[in-house]
């Protein structure tokens, strides 16, 4: 493998990893800290993308990136206040079913408003130029903008949770709600705010990614499972874990795509040749590149077996 290939893997992997981090950082708070299995997390991401499109249509992308996440966060907080809070007392299964239903409702509403075909959500003109060149491959300024912004988001969340009083109250409300309530804090409100903040983060990710991957009603369905992989691999409630897991998955998947390697190569090295027309060849001929989409899930299974609390988690799944 040449240095060039390695460089590309690192670059592409980092970009994709940070996208995954943006997408799943909100769920780390919601699932990891509050313990709510929010199946509809990617739906909030989708709402963010559509609102980003709609607002930038009437004003500009820069207003959209400020306003849309706030709106999504507000919607999220309302969902928690009027929906999830009532379901919470019936346990995790009820919550899961609730968010499962929510997922379909959001998808249908989005289709009703914006139609079934992708909408024309564009990268802002200001950042639509190639910024750097790596061996002939251009990386647009917008990708760099996303990279920088996601790093800033990570630092912000990390500092809020670790260093501020707000972070202390949030963490305490989740572990010792009765005690925090006794100290005069409004615990249900803390829950709403955390849920809303998590959804807002997903919304922000949607605004930033919708114009790159395409904004269409099935985007939530396709991104739904991967966010859980990130959160579980990183460790429940650990924002640092989510970052590391995202980057690992990004790098692994990008590396897998770049590898044109299959079992036939091993057999050939050992001196066997598999008949091209045999059934066995059907399996040994599959390259690692073709298996790249299952790489994150493979990682999930290995983590669950070997280290159920994830990379940086403090408790088991």
């Amino acid at each position: 493998m040449s240095v060039e290939v390695l460089l590309f893997i690192i670059f592409n992997g980092l970009l994709y990893g940070m996208f995954l981090f943006m997408l799943s950082s909100g769920l780390t708070l919601i699932f990891g800290m509050m313990g709510i299995l929010n199946f509809a997390h990617a739906s909030f991401f989708m709402i963010g993308a559509y609102l980003g499109y709609q607002i930038s249509l009437y004003s500009s992308f820069w207003i959209a990136i400020l306003l849309a996440p706030l709106l999504v966060g507000y919607i999220g907080a309302m969902v928690e206040k009027y929906g999830l809070r009532n379901v919470h007392k019936y346990g995790h299964i009820a919550e899961l079913l609730f968010t499962f239903g929510l997922f379909y409702i959001i998808e249908e509403i989005v289709q009703m408003i914006w139609g079934k075909t992708p909408v024309a959500y564009k990268v802002p003109e200001l950042l639509n130029f190639p910024l750097i060149q790596v061996s002939g491959m251009a990386y647009p300024a917008y990708s760099m903008f996303r990279l920088v912004l996601s790093v800033l988001i990570f630092i912000a969340i990390y500092r809020i949770l670790a260093k501020t009083k707000t972070g202390l109250i949030i963490k305490a409300s989740l572990t010792n709600p009765d005690m925090v309530a006794a100290l005069g804090h409004n615990v249900p409100r803390v829950f709403s705010n955390v849920f809303g903040f998590g959804c807002g983060l997903a919304g922000l990710a949607g605004v930033m990614a919708g114009n790159v991957i395409g904004t269409e009603p099935s985007m939530a369905l396709l991104l739904g499972p991967i966010v859980f992989v990130v959160v579980v691999t990183g460790g429940l409630g650990s924002i640092k874990g989510a970052l590391v897991a995202s980057i690992i998955i990004g790098l692994m998947q990008t590396a897998a795509v770049s590898l044109e390697f299959n079992l036939n190569n091993i057999f050939q090295y050992l001196g066997y040749n598999i008949d091209i027309n045999s059934t066995l060849n059907y399996f040994t001929n599959i390259t690692i590149s073709q298996l790249s989409p299952i790489v994150p899930y493979l990682l999930l299974i290995i983590i669950l077996i070997a280290r159920p609390r994830g990379l940086f988690g403090k408790r088991d799944v």
Partner: protein, 418 residues
């Protein structure tokens, strides 16, 4: 009193007779259209149903078929195989004798297999399958049946057309195959490998990628990088939907200049997600006609105008129009509504094409054959592509004609004729 009774009975019988008579003349020719109208493929299915309904309405406006109107009965299979099976059974129970379908080869195969059994067991009650867009080659080869007609060219023919055009372009030296990993993508890949080796020996295949299909890949950067490192000057792809438009956008973002050859890259439903990114690289697709040809004959312009008014977009395919026209000619020719007679009449029948080229239904395998054109997507020339309230400000430019002979391939079809 008795007279009154007789009088009333006579009157009612007359009314009844008249009612029956009226029902007899307005008795429509029912065609079931099975397409996905819900789920992730709903956009494609909705477009298809709209086009089918419009094409049938044009026949009806001009007096129907021997006075009988065509009635399209849309059925939603949600892109699920078992739903297709169920709907086909329902259609048969409702005495519908014609089925049309296009989105998804797996569903088409399902219909072919079921009808093969049903038709052989129920002589005199056969059902005809008019396939307008399911392109997997085997339907007119080893899986061919007498009651299936395909009005679109199959994958092998489309690839033959693409390769025939590529072989004339001397700037193409290294080609990268980029396809979706399911039956259609694999068929495309196999056909491309076979035909490039045979018909374009001076073009090297420098890469061959099968990606997980249907929008599972969000990040195309690693693939673009691979293509870049392979040194390819051309990419040949059968991709459609998100797998096509994300790829086009990723190429633009990475600034990688290659020629893109394909079938469905410029599908109108995905154009909103690409817009002018589609022009960054030369995108060449093969079609049976040029949808933005201002010089098309006036009868077609009239058809197109109605299409834009009632369906809301520029016709992207012409095959559904001539499919209904051929059905009409076949019924008029044999003066029968029996699928068996119609099927015999369709064999070898010629269709009227937009740009004056040949178009004929081959008897041996019930595969439509027509002249094709290689079309380059360009800035707006005379007429632009419209799609549901959007003007994309782009046109197709004919960059080469592909005569029918170049895409006429042998068939392995051995059909049992009733």
């Amino acid at each position: 009193m008795n007279n009154l009774k007789i009088f009333l009975i006579t009157i009612f019988s007359l009314i009844f007779l008249v009612a029956c008579e009226k029902k007899e003349t307005s008795n429509p020719i029912k065609i079931a259209a099975i397409e996905p109208l819900s789920g992730p493929y709903a956009a494609v299915g909705k477009d298809t149903i709209d086009i089918v309904t419009y094409s049938a309405s044009v026949i009806n406006k001009n007096g129907g078929i021997k006075g009988r109107m065509i009635e399209i009965i849309p059925m939603d299979n949600a892109m699920k195989a078992e739903k297709t099976t169920e709907l086909l059974r329902k259609a048969i129970d409702d005495d519908i004798r014609f089925i049309t379908q296009g989105a998804g080869s797996s569903h088409a195969l399902n219909i072919i297999k079921q009808l093969e059994k049903y038709n052989s067991r129920n002589p005199g009650k056969e059902v005809l399958f008019l396939n307008h867009s399911a392109v997997t080659t085997s339907f007119t080869n080893e899986n061919c049946t007498f009651f299936h007609f395909r009005f679109d060219s199959n994958v092998d023919m489309k690839v033959a057309g693409l390769v025939s055009h590529m072989s004339k372009d001397n700037s193409i030296k290294k080609v990268y195959l980029f396809n979706q990993n399911y039956v259609y993508g694999q068929t495309f890949k196999d056909a491309a490998t076979r035909m490039l080796t045979k018909n374009a020996p001076n073009i090297d295949i420098v890469g061959d990628e099968l990606i997980p299909p249907f929008g599972k890949v969000q990040d195309f950067n690693p693939y673009v990088t691979k293509i870049k490192l392979s040194g390819a000057d051309t990419v040949l792809t059968g991709n459609w939907g998100p797998d096509a438009y994300r790829f086009v956008n990723a190429l633009k973002d990475a600034g990688l200049k290659v020629k893109l050859f394909g079938i469905y890259i410029s599908q109108p439903a995905g154009m909103a997600a690409m817009e002018k990114n589609l022009l960054f690289n030369d995108v060449i697709v093969v079609k049976e006609f040029n949808p933005t040809n201002l010089a098309a004959p006036s009868w077609y312009k009239e058809y197109e105008k109605g299409h834009i008014e009632s369906v809301g977009f520029t016709p992207d395919a012409d095959r559904i129009r001539f499919m209904f026209e051929m059905l009409k000619s076949a019924i008029e020719k044999v003066n029968s509504y029996e699928p068996k007679d119609i099927a015999y009449a369709l064999e070898g029948m010629e269709a009227k094409s937009v740009d004056g080229g040949k178009a004929v239904m081959r008897k041996d395998d019930h595969q439509m054959h027509f002249d094709m054109q290689a079309l380059l997507v360009s800035e707006k020339k005379d007429q632009s592509i419209l799609y549901r309230g959007k003007d994309f400000d782009m046109s197709y430019v004919n960059v080469g004609n592909i005569p029918m002979e170049d895409i006429t391939l042998d068939t392995s079809c051995k059909m049992l004729r009733p």
